[in-house]
């Protein structure tokens, strides 16, 4: 497609808006920012169509551009809420806290409603790097190689970073679900 071909680009926007919006939504955690960043990503894509060489697919190119828009936004705004699994040290560095494996209670994890709730929150508690790699894999459906191209990292780094991101998210979710279940159980006992 030629740069500046607005009709053709509109077709691309229509075809990709769901994926791009969802990428932005999961990166930012709120619909307003997702709307704005989706617009920004498409606008940047249009302005930079000349730089799209066609070596990779348009979807991958757009995902990379969108991920960068989101990461820039998150870094500038510093909107990432303090994670229950992390704290900021004296030097302002984000320190992650490991949660013991014994907190895993997968049978409770399968409670879909709780899982969904905690998944939304958990994504926002990950670092921008962990969140973006997880979203590009799970929601955008990119392969390891494609994620590597999108984030400009090696496939090996993709593999290890993705694993760490999953682990952090799993720890967050299982920890919170366990807590909630325990709380509900106590309430019932108190009533009984």
């Amino acid at each position: 497609m030629l740069a500046g071909d607005k009709e053709a680009f509109e077709a691309l926007v229509t075809a990709h808006e769901k994926k791009i919006y969802n990428l932005c939504l999961r990166m930012t955690g709120n619909t307003e920012d997702a709307f704005d960043l989706s617009q920004e990503a498409f606008f940047k894509a249009f302005r930079n169509l000349d730089s799209f060489r066609g070596e990779s697919g348009f979807h991958l190119w757009l995902c990379r551009l969108t991920a960068n828009v989101c990461i820039d936004f998150l870094r500038k705004k510093k909107r990432r809420p303090q994670s229950a699994l992390s704290y900021t040290d004296e030097d302002g560095r984000q320190i992650d806290i490991e949660v013991p494996d014994e907190r895993f209670m997968p049978e409770r994890l399968l409670d879909a409603k709780l899982l969904r709730e905690e998944l939304q929150n958990g994504l926002q508690c990950l670092t921008a790097d962990h969140r973006s790699i997880l979203i590009l894999r799970e929601i955008s459906g990119l392969s390891y190689d494609e994620i590597g191209q999108a984030l400009d990292i090696s496939a090996g780094t993709v593999k290890s970073r993705l694993s760490r991101a999953r682990k952090k998210l799993a720890d967050y979710i299982t920890g919170n679900i366990t807590e909630k279940k325990s709380s509900i159980q106590h309430e019932r006992q108190d009533r009984g």
Binding site: G4, L25, L119
Partner: protein, 301 residues
């Protein structure tokens, strides 16, 4: 058999279907004997499935908003710097046209729409890059025309102006600080309304991080970037401007490339016609604008 930690990454790879078969066999052997890792696999799988289900439907307005932004911005996209500067001056020229309209409708209680048609042209006098020779023309009809004449009279009585006698000639650093204001040494744009004997001077000069409009060589009104920003309250698109709006055509010429905008001015907003047939609207804070004008000796009787 290794520790559980060494299997964590493999479990992640297994979920993604990228774990080599040999490693997968070893991992499965471990999973059969380790409840924690088995649980971790189930957790990852549940997360993966749930994330796939999280897909939300984008707002219906998204694609429209994207395309509206692209359509509005497209004429600026490939412009060389000289034309971007001119574009800013064009905005100021537009605001001054709005000003004349505001003077009539808000301040001076001027007359009704004129049946006559006149035009206001703003031609660049840039000499540094003659090959670019950009030109802005504004041609309009309707209510604003009488006010150009009204304002002409006001311009003529600007002897005690407290504003600078002339814009600074070197302002590149200040321009950076104000953001969005072109960096240039006293670049000027001058023009007049043509077509009849009521010639009104309209000069725009960019310098010192501000944009100056002049009625004559000694009197200047200045608008900085913040002022212009404050004047533009909000943006969006509408199906059509109000029927009582006055219409103007702005033509930006660069070499052989000419871009035209149809602009409508209502009492509280400027509308730019888009290729889609919609109208991009910028609401104008006329009260704020009126305050500027009223406090400006150029408009004193």
């Amino acid at each position: 058999m290794g520790t559980c930690d060494q299997y964590t990454e493999q479990i992640s790879s297994l979920v993604d279907g990228v774990l080599p078969e040999e490693a997968a066999v070893t991992l499965r052997g471990h999973l059969a004997t380790c409840a924690d890792c088995g649980h971790l696999l189930l957790t990852y799988q549940a997360i993966s499935a749930e994330l796939a289900n999280l897909e939300a439907t984008p707002p219906a307005a998204l694609s429209g908003a994207v395309m509206a932004r692209i359509r509005v911005s497209t004429p600026r996209k490939r412009r060389p710097p000289i034309l971007r500067r001119l574009s800013f001056a064009g905005v100021a020229a537009l605001l001054l046209l709005v000003c004349t309209y505001a003077v009539q409708s808000k301040l001076l209680g001027g007359g009704n729409a004129s049946d006559s048609t006149s035009s206001l042209s703003v031609a660049s006098t840039v000499e540094t890059e003659p090959e670019e020779a950009p030109e802005i023309r504004l041609a309009g009809s309707g209510e604003a025309q009488d006010e150009v004449s009204t304002q002409d009279a006001a311009y003529g009585s600007a002897a005690e102006a407290e504003i600078p006698a002339e814009p600074p000639k070197d302002a590149s650093e200040a321009s950076e600080e104000t953001g969005g204001v072109p960096t240039t040494d006293g670049k000027s744009y001058a023009g007049s309304n043509g077509g009849d004997s009521m010639q009104s001077a309209l000069s725009l000069e960019v310098g010192g991080g501000q944009l100056y409009a002049a009625a004559d060589a000694n009197s200047w009104v200045f608008l900085d970037a913040a002022t212009v920003t404050q004047l533009l309250l909000s943006n969006g698109t509408v199906e059509a401007p109000p029927s009582e709006s006055a219409q103007f055509v702005i033509s930006v010429l660069l070499g052989d490339m000419e871009t035209q905008y149809v602009i409508w001015l209502s009492e509280d907003a400027v509308y730019v016609e888009l290729e889609s047939g919609e109208f991009f609207i910028s609401a104008i804070d006329f009260t704020y604008f009126s305050d500027i004008l009223q406090s400006n000796p150029l408009l004193a009787d």
